[in-house]
Structures are given as C-alpha cells and as structure tokens.
C-alpha cells in the first residue's frame, strides 16, 4: 500500500511522458532500432534483446556477480530486483516495461530585472526537479506474426481524473499499434503511431525537430503521434524504407499559427499527411577475427612449418599447437545514411541524417532538418553528436546544435530571424542495472540570452 501511495504521489507531480530512443546504441551495435525496441522507430518498450542488453549494462552487475564475502550479491542488495531477469511473461506472449525520468535543472531562461533600488540584475530561474517522464508500456504477441503494443504518458492530472495531460502541443498521451509481419522484411503497422521522421532521439530538448523562435512548441514534439498506418520494408540488412499515411489533428495543433481561420485546410493543413523515410545501413569489418587455433586450425598450421623466433625456438611443438587462441571480436564500423519527408498541405518537414559507429563504442551522427508552412514560417536545424563508451556502463556524450527560424516577427522586433545554438556535454552512467544517471552541462546561446548550467537526470527503466 505504501509503495502504491508513493507511486501515486510521484505520478501526480509529473508532467506527461516522452518516449526516447538512443541512436548511438543502434550505430554501435549495427542493428536497427527495432532490434531493441518493440516500436520499430525506437523508444518505448524494449524487446528481450534490448532488455537483456540494458540489464547487463551496469558498473555493478548482480546477475553475473561472484560471491562477495561468501554471500551472493543478490542477498547483499536485499534481493532487490532479484528475479527481474526478463521483461517477457507467459512464454513471451506478454512484455511489460517502463521509463521514469527525473531532471534537475533551471527551467527557463535568464531575465533582466530591476530591483527596488533601480539596479538591473539578471535573474536565473530556480533549480527545479522536473518529472520528465512516467510511461508504462506493454506488448502482446497475438500470433507469431501479429503483435499489439503501446504506452501511456502519465501527467499531473492523470490521477485527478483527467487522463490526458500533454506538456507540448501536438503531444499524445498514448501510442498504440497493431503490427504485422506481412512477408520476410515487410512489416505493416497501424494505430496511434509516430511517423518515421529522421532519427528519433532520446532528449526532448534536441532542436532538430524544434523551432528556434519558440522552444516550447517543437514542430514534432516528443510523443507526437497520429492515427495512421505505415509500411516498413527491410529486405536486406543495409537497406530500409518506410512509407505511411496519417491523420493530422496533432500536426494542426502544433502548426496552428492562424487560429482565426475556420478549418484545417484554411490553415494550410490537409486532413491527411504523408511520410516516408529511406535509410542505408552499411557495415564494414575493419579487423579482428573469430578464428580459433585449437585443434590444428589453419592459423596454427602456418606457424607449424615456418615460424622460428629470435631465440631459435620454433613454435612447432605440441604445447603451442594445442593452445587455443581466444576468439577476437571483429571490429565493425556501422553506418547510416538516410532521408525522410513528412508533409500535409502547405507544410513539409525534410530530414537528412548520417552516422558512423564502431563496435568499440565510438559513434558520430549528424542530422539536418528543414520545414516550411503556409504562414511564412521556415526552419533550418542542424545537429552533430558524438558518443564514446569508455565502458558499456560509462559513456561520454557531446553534441552541438544550431537552429534558425524565419517567421513574421511581432511588432517591436526588428527582424523575423531567430537563431539558437546549443552545446551539451555529459555522461551516461549506469551504476546498477536498469538505472541511469546522466549529468550534463548545457550551454544555450539564443538571440537574446546565453545560459549555461549543469543538469542531472535520473532514469529508471525496465
């Protein structure tokens, strides 16, 4: 009962949730997002592969722990999460999961104020604990080829009777899809889904889908979703294409610069939106081998005949031939190159993205986006990011972003061009399985202010 009360207390202070994906994992692993997530666009409920990967990603792993002073570590941790070794239930028919994120940050921007003595000073928003996300997920396998999955975004008003309480305009409170494997490499999904647009990122402050003139109204907010359907074709490991048709209620809410106009079409949005994405995912083997020398393999045969070391010994002795060489994981380089388009009526959003990642944990990716709409409101955004996994549980991350928006300025503003640059450096630290601590330093340089601050995110997930 106490746990339930604490959960309710936590939930009632929460903003609505965002589903996040972690692009670097796809680049490093050389796998598409669908390998680790039930949602093929990434984010949300993890597949068994995704769950087991993240469950093994920790500085202290109790699953593979050796005895500590004679006691298994599970007991040392009070049996905490003992038995939570999988997110699959009932022979994989049902899968459950969640994401909970708390963020410590100064929310807002600095403002110039005048105190009672007439002195100008700069006021910084107070530090706040921001409940960024609380989202439960579920997936049910109806048949081998048909599944249904979804998630719900809990907001402050959810436990006060108002189920839907989105933070951003255009944000949905839930997503749900019926997904079918129609043929090898061919998947069809329909429901309340997010179209495949560029790269799906794991930080809602990323500007690539945003608007430099209004950061509280991103063009494609976290958890943006519409009723629609999408076909995904992945015939070969290095090529993937998606195409879909969607309703536009949420898009209209986001883009509604002209509320005076009566209908959606008069605001430059059609009743349907169309989207598509094409991605090449090449992989290159740079080195390393999985050959073992035990048992007289090809490698040891070569050494048998020809090799003498400087001391006159040769290695053609029984001990060397019999000694196995441990398999060496191949060094892989994985890449992305892709384009996406999404539009309705007078609005369009185009994205181009590219990335490189190595199986050693280093990754780079870049993305650009361009949008335009009827009311002379144009955006260009760019992102460059890099990650370096020093250990699987300790990842250095950095990114640089730039956003430019041109729109009709309000009276009093000289021009209608808005620019914002953002630099973020941080660490993804997994001290225990299913827990992430993410300290970061964020520097925002907008037209009218510069603001740098340290932030910390606590992420609990399953």
């Amino acid at each position: 009962m106490m746990v339930l009360r604490l959960l309710v207390l936590l939930a009632t202070t929460l903003y609505s949730a965002h589903a996040f994906a972690v692009p670097r994992l796809s680049l490093v692993a050389g796998s598409p997002c669908a390998t680790c997530h039930e949602n093929p666009t990434g984010g949300g409920l993890r597949t068994l592969v995704g769950f087991e990967t993240m469950h093994a990603t920790a500085a202290v792993k109790w699953k593979s722990a050796e005895s500590m002073s004679g006691r298994p570590i599970e007991q040392g941790l009070g049996n905490l999460l003992k038995g939570m070794t999988s997110n699959q239930l009932f022979d994989d028919r049902l899968s459950l999961g969640y994401d909970i994120r708390l963020q410590w940050a100064h929310l807002g921007r600095p403002r110039q104020t005048v105190d009672s003595s007439g002195n100008e000073r700069i006021e910084i928003p107070p530090m706040r604990v921001i409940p960024m996300q609380m989202a439960p997920y579920a997936r049910v396998h109806l048949t081998e080829w048909l599944k249904v999955y979804g998630g719900f975004n809990v907001g402050p008003k959810t436990f006060r009777g108002e189920a839907c309480d989105p933070h951003f305009r255009g944000q949905q409170c839930f997503d749900a899809a019926l997904q079918a494997k129609a043929a090898p490499g061919l998947t069809v999904r329909g429901g309340m889904i997010q179209p495949s647009i560029g790269i799906r990122h794991d930080d809602h402050t990323i500007m690539i889908r945003g608007d430099a003139s209004d950061r509280q109204t991103p063009i494609i907010p976290a958890n943006y979703a519409e009723w629609g359907g999408e076909v995904s074709y992945h015939p070969i490991s290095w090529f993937r294409v998606e195409a879909g048709v969607f309703e536009t209620s949420q898009l209209d809410e986001v883009l509604n610069d002209q509320r005076a106009k009566a209908g959606r079409t008069e605001r430059g949005i059609d009743m349907l939106a169309y989207g598509g994405r094409i991605t090449w995912l090449p992989q290159f083997r740079l080195g390393g081998s999985s050959t073992q020398a035990a048992g007289g393999s090809e490698v040891s045969d070569d050494f048998d005949d020809d090799f003498d070391d400087d001391f006159g010994d040769d290695f053609d002795d029984e001990a060397s031939v019999a000694e196995p060489i441990a398999p060496v994981a191949p060094l892989m380089m994985n890449g992305w190159l892709g384009f996406s388009g999404y539009g309705s009526g007078e609005f369009y959003l185009l994205n181009a993205f590219a990335g490189l990642g190595t199986s050693q944990g280093l990754s780079f990716f870049a993305e650009m986006s361009h949008s335009d709409r009827e009311s002379c409101h144009e955006t260009w955004n760019g992102l460059f990011a890099t990650n370096w996994a020093l250990r699987d549980w300790f990842v250095l991350a950095a990114r640089a972003e730039y956003g430019w928006t041109k729109r009709v300025p309000p009276p009093g503003r000289e021009n209608g061009e808005y620019t914002t640059a953002q630099y973020v450096m941080g660490v993804e630290f997994f001290p225990l399985p299913l827990i992430e601590i993410r300290p970061e330093y964020r520097l925002v340089m907008a037209d009218e202010y510069t603001f740098g601050q340290a932030t910390v995110q606590l992420h609990l997930f399953y």
Partner: protein, 172 residues
C-alpha cells in the same frame, strides 16, 4: 587479517567498495560545485522601451480594433501581449507564462476569454494557467501571476501608450 571485500564484476575489473563509493562521492561533489560555479547567464536583448502605437487599417496593430483580440509585441527583452479588453481599454501583460515559459500569444499558447470576474482571463494553453486582466494568478500550475503594464490612450494624437520604462511592472 580482515578479508578485504570487493565488488565483483565492475566492468572488466574488480574495484573495492570504498573506491566505488569514493568515486560516486567525488562525482556528486563535482556536480554540486558545477551547479554553483558553472552557471552562466547573460541577457543580450535591448532594454525595454515604451511602446506607442495607433490602430490603423493595414498596420500591425490593426487586429486590436476588435474587442477580444490579442497581439504579441516585443519591447526589447520584454515580451508582451496586448489585449483589447473593451472599446475603451487595452491591457498589456507579460506573455511568458511563469510555469513552463510558454508564450501566451495568439497562434501559440495564449487565449483571451472575455467575461466578468474570474470568467475573464488570459489562459496559457500549455497547462491551463489563468491570469486576470491585472496579471494576477487565477488558477493553474503557475507559481505567480504575470507583470502588467499601464496602457493609456491620448485622444489628441489618437495613439496608445504602453508605459514600460517608468513602470517596474505590476506583478499580479
């Protein structure tokens, strides 16, 4: 001799519990120091100036001819929304909601509801914070009201004046 306890499987190497806890403590202290020492804040926009305008057809302020209409106006660092409250009155409020800093302007996250008493308000549609005509908080998650600024009409010149320079802003 007391057996040294060690935490198994820390990445690829064993470390002691003391080392791990020490590292976490140091990291936490570093983070706390960053909070106090590394916060950078600079405002680069111009100081706010008084705004004078006339409501003429074809001007940016023409929308204020109709009662109930709103217009976003920038005055240097200050972001205002002008609202035609009645035939005789225009009010000027800070259009940045103190809750999550949404812009309460037409076409973004602001809606003006005509009425009397608490039935008349400026609403931030992000999270339904509501503000009275004087900027005071009516309801919602906003921690405070918003600043309001005096607006007067000069019948001789036919121009309206929003006083910003001399007014520190009357926070509701």
């Amino acid at each position: 001799m007391k057996k040294r306890e060690s935490l198994p499987v820390l990445g690829s190497a064993e470390i002691s519990r003391r080392t791990l806890l020490s590292g976490v403590a140091r990291g936490g202290c570093a983070l706390a120091l960053m909070q106090f020492g590394c916060t950078v804040a600079e405002v680069t926009c111009d100081d706010a100036r008084n705004i004078t305008f006339s409501i003429e057809p074809g001007s940016p302020f023409a929308v204020l001819e109709e009662v109930g209409e709103m217009l976003a106006v920038d005055a240097g660092c200050l972001k205002l929304v002008l609202i035609r409250r009645s035939e005789e009155e225009i009010i000027a409020l800070d259009r940045i909601c103190p809750h999550a800093f949404c812009e309460m302007s037409p076409g973004q996250s602001g809606v003006w509801v005509q009425g009397t008493g608490d039935a008349e308000y400026l609403e931030c549609t992000c999270h339904t914070s509501r503000f009275a005509a004087d900027g005071s908080k009516i309801s919602g998650p906003t921690p405070t009201g918003v600043d309001s600024f005096p607006v007067s009409f000069n019948p001789d010149t036919g121009r309206w004046l929003v006083e910003i320079e001399s007014a520190a802003g009357n926070q509701g």
